[in-house]
């Protein structure tokens, strides 16, 4: 109990849909009229659930509704959720950019946020001047920045450009400099929103390393929002899954990620079900526990379940071929090659891919049915499968940002 550094109680945030127009003024007046008569906000009672796919039936929406959670000291709390689930709104409330509609957030430490770094940069000022300005905006004193100035410049790798106006910087350099400033902040609670999505591979590695230092080495409390499941699994000690403005999971990281991936399926099917044909009645992607998933993680064990019909009751084999977004063939898995042919009238066949080898993105697959080694049915683009970043090598690192194939390998050495 006494370890709790941040406590969110029943926080909600209401937004108005549509544009600000004359209607807003009348609502403002109505609100004011209620207020002077000592009544509550007449619009606080209305508002629909934050689900962007349904049509708006009311003018107000709850971006967050009755969120409760505690953060303990030294914890790295990951926050995941679909786009529009309320993650960024929550971070905005925590970093005091905007106030909650109801509820309260209590904290025992200073909160500093790293929301899309580099926004405080003034293009006309030099790198050096901006380091001071940005540091001050983030709440550092001049002395703190002075003490860490060399470290910051080294970390950013922009030493040569430190006396050049920031407007001449490349966008990558700007981000490096901004992250460098922010990474050297020393608040008790650090809020980070997807900063790792920028910069090149080398810098990303550096940034992740720094984050690990911050959270593990220095025992700082970190709130981390990301879509990168690999980074989440590597850095976080606890996970919060948001859905439609509410907390739908809180607890263990791997369970949370699993929950998120499965849950995604229910609301939004990320792969198209294969057309029901004579030979195949359904295709499902499953995880190692045989639960249906909507997205696949790089490196995850994937099982593809195919329900087949085999009127001839013999010599049926299946093949699934995977293609990238540009329809380039990637790989295929044929059942007769690994000596599986189906001889019963009806059944389920399971394709097991031990480690999903593809980098994040959308892929589609073709399904083919062979009878006595001749193709009798070929469904092109039978379905799509979305891949999210995962931890292929168990190290939290994936090489490069390019679309890639990952294979399971190992390096070893003999010391001479």
């Amino acid at each position: 109990m006494d370890n709790i550094i941040l406590k969110a109680e029943n926080i909600s945030k209401q937004y108005r849909l549509g544009v600000v127009g004359t209607g807003t003024l009348s609502h403002d007046i109505n609100r004011f009229w209620h207020k002077i008569r000592g009544k509550g906000d007449p619009y606080a009672k209305v508002g629909s659930v934050n689900d962007r796919s349904t049509e708006a039936s009311e003018e107000y929406v709850w971006a967050l509704k009755d969120i409760n959670f505690n953060v303990r000291k030294g914890e790295v709390l990951g926050i995941i959720g679909k786009n529009g689930a309320g993650k960024s709104t929550l971070l905005k409330l925590l970093s005091r950019v905007t106030g909650p509609t109801t509820g309260s957030i209590k904290t025992k430490g200073r909160i500093a946020s790293l929301l899309e770094v580099g926004t405080g940069f003034h293009p006309e000022l030099t790198g050096k001047e901006n380091i001071y300005l940005n540091g001050a905006i983030l709440g550092m004193s001049k002395k703190e920045v002075e003490d860490k100035f060399d470290e910051i410049v080294d970390f950013s790798g922009c030493k040569k450009y430190v006396n050049t106006p920031v407007k001449r910087y490349s966008s990558g350099m700007r981000v490096r400099l901004a992250f460098a400033v922010a990474a050297h902040l020393e608040p008790e609670i650090l809020v980070i929103d997807e900063v790792l999505a920028v910069g090149d591979a080398e810098f990303q590695k550096k940034a992740i390393g720094k984050m690990q230092d911050i959270s593990k080495g220095e025992g700082r409390t970190v709130l981390f929002v990301s879509h990168d499941m690999g980074a989440i699994q590597n850095l976080c000690t606890r996970l919060l899954v948001l859905e439609n403005g509410g907390v739908c999971f809180e607890g263990n990281v791997s369970e949370g990620v699993e929950y998120y991936l499965q849950n995604n399926k229910a609301k939004e099917l990320n792969y198209k079900n294969a057309a029901v044909t004579e030979g195949i009645s359904s295709v499902k992607f499953l995880n190692s526990d045989f639960q249906e998933i909507g997205m696949v993680l790089t490196g995850q064990k994937v099982i593809v379940q195919v329900d087949y019909n085999n009127p001839e009751q013999k010599d049926l084999s299946l093949s699934i071929g995977f293609f990238d977004g540009l329809s380039n063939f990637l790989f295929s898995c044929r059942s007769d090659i690994v000596n599986l042919t189906m001889n019963s009238r009806k059944g389920k066949a399971y394709l097991e891919i031990h480690k999903w080898p593809l980098s994040p993105g959308f892929y589609h697959y073709n399904l083919a049915v062979h009878f006595k080694s001749t193709m009798v049915e070929n469904i092109k683009e039978a379905g799509t499968v979305e891949t999210e970043k995962g931890d292929f090598y168990g190290t939290g690192k994936l090489p490069g940002k390019k679309k890639a194939f990952y294979i399971d390998y190992n390096w070893s050495e003999d010391v001479l």
């Binding site: 905005k92 905007t98 309260s104 946020s113």
Partner: protein
């Protein structure tokens, strides 16, 4: 009971807000930011210009020259025994400070939405830094004014300040308060309703004429007797007239007018502060 519970928390983020919540302690903690903002405001204005800081001098000088040519030479407005140019320079120096405080603060929320939308720092740092950097610009313009003053004395013109000069700090304060008050109010309303941004740009330039900047108040009363009240009840006129009265001993001064302007600027400042305070927490949702 509530106090007891919250005492071990550093701070609490809640939706209810106090009427005026200045949080001076926090502003003090961010004093380095304040200094850097002031520096930024001054340094960046004339970066990548050849004349650099000279532009701070050029603008009021040219305006005064034009005013002298148009109002005094063409329009034939007499300014007592005081040199026309000096009369205009006095008015413009005072007016510019008020104007830059007003226009500077009136765009705070919209102009800084990108920063305000990402990080928290006491929002009051912004208007404060604008007032201070403008005070420095005002200081620079005051130096020019004093320079010409000395020049006119040197060539034998009869100009002298009067005993009201002791009120100088009060006048500067009034200009700042009034500029801030109007500016903060406008800035708060423009987050939701953009109408005011359109209004401000031309209203300020019109306000200058209604505030008797390029001509003495007595002239305005004499030529436009039916509009006398406009000039009389405009608190800015009182400030401009008062500023000229104490520096070049030309104009009208009444204690009534002075008190009126003082009360007015304090009231408008308080209104601005309240509106600003109410807006700063949630403006990012409506901007």
């Amino acid at each position: 009971m509530n106090n007891k519970i919250s005492s071990d928390w550093l701070y609490e983020i809640t939706p209810n807000k106090k009427l005026i919540d200045l949080n001076l302690k926090e502003i003090w903690r961010y004093r380095d930011l304040l200094i850097l903002f002031v520096k930024r405001d001054i340094v960046t204005v004339y970066k990548q210009t050849i004349l650099g800081p000279l532009w701070f001098f050029i603008q009021p000088l040219f305006t005064s020259v034009i005013f002298t040519l148009v109002f005094n030479n063409v329009g034939g407005i007499a300014t007592g025994g005081v040199p026309n140019f000096l009369f205009n320079l006095a008015g413009i120096t005072a007016w510019n400070y008020f104007k830059s405080c007003l226009t500077g603060t009136s765009n705070i929320f919209r102009g800084n939405a990108s920063i305000f939308g990402k990080v928290y720092f006491p929002r009051a740092v912004m208007p404060l830094s604008i007032t201070i950097s403008n005070l420095m610009k005002f200081g620079i313009q005051l130096i020019i004014f004093i320079g010409f003053y000395v020049y006119y004395l040197f060539i034998g013109k009869e100009v002298a300040p009067n005993q009201n000069l002791v009120l100088f700090p009060v006048y500067v304060l009034m200009m700042a308060l009034m500029g801030l008050g109007f500016g903060m109010t406008i800035s708060a309303f423009t987050t939701k309703y953009r109408d005011l941004t359109v209004l401000v740009t031309f209203a300020v330039s019109l306000l200058m004429y209604v505030s008797a900047v390029p001509f003495p108040l007595s002239k305005a009363k004499e030529k436009l007797p039916e509009l006398e009240w406009v000039f009389e009840y405009n608190p800015i006129t009182q400030i401009i007239e008062g500023f000229r009265y104490m520096t070049i001993d030309y104009g009208t001064f009444t204690w009534g007018g002075f008190t009126y302007a003082l009360v007015f600027s304090v009231v408008i400042f308080l209104i601005g502060l309240i509106v600003f305070n109410r807006t700063e927490k949630n403006f990012i949702d409506t901007v």
